[in-house]
């Protein structure tokens, strides 16, 4: 077992959420400023790597949405694919994006299937690449806590 720096463990907690938050922010602003699903997803990966370095890969994996990188990635692809369906059902070509406005009182937020699509990209990149990184880090960590499959 690796000797973990306590400082790192302590710092990882808030840092994890900061990175995740910024990744979401990058995701959301992507449509109008540089950014988007990929970059957001890659940032999220780095959050997971941080957690893995500080708390171990297993813990990082459990912190992922859906608890499993494979499921997260698959769900991402499904979500991205699904974002094209509403238009299809409405009689327009697949992947035609729909836009709506969400009144929040003080401002109107534009919601769209584009966001859904980008979210799918985000989830897929996060799941798959975090999965890679965690599994590789695990190789170096010595014996795994449990056999996954």
């Amino acid at each position: 077992m690796k000797r973990r720096v306590v400082m790192l463990e302590a710092a990882a907690g808030p840092l994890y959420w900061v990175i995740l938050g910024s990744s979401l922010w990058v995701l959301l602003r992507g449509h109008n400023e540089p950014g988007g699903g990929f970059i957001g997803g890659l940032l999220a990966v780095s959050a997971s790597i941080l957690w893995a370095v500080s708390h171990g890969s297993g813990a990082a994996r459990r912190r992922l949405p859906l608890k499993d990188p494979l499921r997260l990635a698959a769900a991402g692809v499904l979500l991205a694919g699904f974002s094209g369906l509403p238009a299809w059902l409405g009689g327009q070509p697949y992947l035609t994006h729909l836009w709506g406005k969400l009144p929040l009182g003080f401002m109107e937020y534009k919601v769209s299937t584009v966001l859904l699509f980008d979210l799918g990209v985000y989830a897929c990149v996060w799941g798959a690449l975090a999965g890679y990184a965690l599994a590789l880090l695990e190789l170096d960590e010595g014996p795994p806590e449990e056999e996954r499959r």
């Binding site: 400023e33 540089p34 990929f38 990149v125 798959a128 690449l129 890679y132 590789l136 190789l139």
Partner: protein
């Protein structure tokens, strides 16, 4: 801009292929990654028209004016991610080849294609793999 980028592509591709021609598998994979970078640069260079301003529409403007060509950027971005996914797989595969085939020498990597003077060499099995030929019903 094109000549400079083309020259850079030349150097990258040459180095990548040189490494890929090595019998050392690690160099080979790194070479492929570099070749991929060269290909991305080439794709980028092929459509690098317009100015050097980001392809983001200014606040208040309706259309994009005087900016870099956005389409090759999108294509390169896609190609980068795809290439990255493949290189990740390549690294993992490389690791396992080194561990299971026991060699990082491409010249000694003859498990799938045994040498001709090696007439009846069945594939050997690693500990984890199932036996390939079921034994139970061979009397």
């Amino acid at each position: 801009m094109i000549p400079l980028l083309a020259l850079t592509v030349f150097v990258t591709v040459t180095a990548g292929v040189y490494l890929a021609l090595s019998r050392d598998l690690f160099r080979c994979v790194v070479g492929l990654a570099m070749l991929g970078a060269g290909a991305n640069l080439a794709l980028y260079a092929a459509g690098a028209k317009g100015s050097a301003r980001p392809a983001v529409i200014q606040k208040g403007a309706e259309v994009l004016a005087d900016a870099a060509n956005p389409l090759p950027q999108a294509l390169v971005l896609t190609a980068i991610v795809i290439g990255f996914a493949l290189v990740c797989f390549a690294l993992v595969l490389l690791l396992r080849v080194m561990q299971y085939a026991g060699s990082d020498d491409a010249d000694r990597l003859r498990l799938a294609e045994p040498r001709p003077d090696d007439p009846l060499k069945p594939p050997s099995h690693s500990a984890d793999c199932l036996p390939v030929y079921p034994r139970e019903d061979r009397s």
